[in-house]
Symmetry: D2
Subunit: 101 residues, 4 copies
Amino acid sequence: MHTIIDFTLIPIGTGVSVSPYIAACQRVLDEAGLTYQLHPNGTGVEGEWDAVFAAVKRCHEVVHEMGSPRVHTCVQIGTRTDRSQSMAEKASSVTRRLAEG
Amino acid sequence: MHTIIDFTLIPIGTGVSVSPYIAACQRVLDEAGLTYQLHPNGTGVEGEWDAVFAAVKRCHEVVHEMGSPRVHTCVQIGTRTDRSQSMAEKASSVTRRLAEG
Amino acid sequence: MHTIIDFTLIPIGTGVSVSPYIAACQRVLDEAGLTYQLHPNGTGVEGEWDAVFAAVKRCHEVVHEMGSPRVHTCVQIGTRTDRSQSMAEKASSVTRRLAEG
Amino acid sequence: MHTIIDFTLIPIGTGVSVSPYIAACQRVLDEAGLTYQLHPNGTGVEGEWDAVFAAVKRCHEVVHEMGSPRVHTCVQIGTRTDRSQSMAEKASSVTRRLAEG
């Protein structure tokens, strides 16, 4: 099952800067070979369900290893069976609607 | 890695009633033998990471099999390494704070 | 417009214990006179849109005043125009489905 | 109070295509004069709390007017008191960390 997710990871019990942890998560996604897209408030990832959630789990492990005693992640998950769709197509379908007025 | 999650599943492209799909997800959680707790806006689940996310995946599959072409789930995930904590303890720690004023 | 929301507030840049902040948010909801329901991973609230979001804003202000430099909240919002529905009815409609098998 | 949010709106009880509703929400944000950024799985918005949430409320109203009997939105909200920060700065702080290795 293919999925597109969007996740925002928050370390709890560490300092006010979140960016080192987010950068570490990007490296996890790179190593996993997944297609992902960073945006200001989270990261979109697409791929097979098991590979995607193995990467999210690895992000939690890595952030704990960096010293964060608690990690909270908000994830939105989308799956569809009517047709295949990539993140790039999701964004362009809205852009096209806007162009059509 | 133990985790506590809270998820809200939404079938897209079906009717206005969501409850049959949520009831089907409860059965998935029962069959998985996971500890869970229904609340008006979602379901809390606790257990080992892999078992919990296998159940969430199974919920997506079951809701697709029931005829929903798209499924969207919002999940909040918590893990901690400083100590173990159950859902029951999370709720009672807030209640205790309130009682203390 | 009536709404049912469910929110999970996370202080960032403070200690590992979240419960004092959650307890403070409960007091905000009490003072606002809103119907709410605590669960292990968040709080459900129902009421008029403006009153509900004024309370969420007040929660952010209070948690900042308690010393948290950053506050992150994940909120799920539901509105419907086909009929009115309370949080109590949402939960019981799933329970009824389960009883029906 | 300044805030950066990220929201994903889902019409319930309509067809499988979500893009017309998302396009309508973009128009709401344009009319509100808010800074926003579309990504494949949602929309980031920044501005004063009251203006931002007035726009989210207006999105729910507009999607109901387009014929959706139920609307579900997942919103992540961030506020901070230690310093001001824009969406553009949030993204670039992670990019900078990655470049530093």
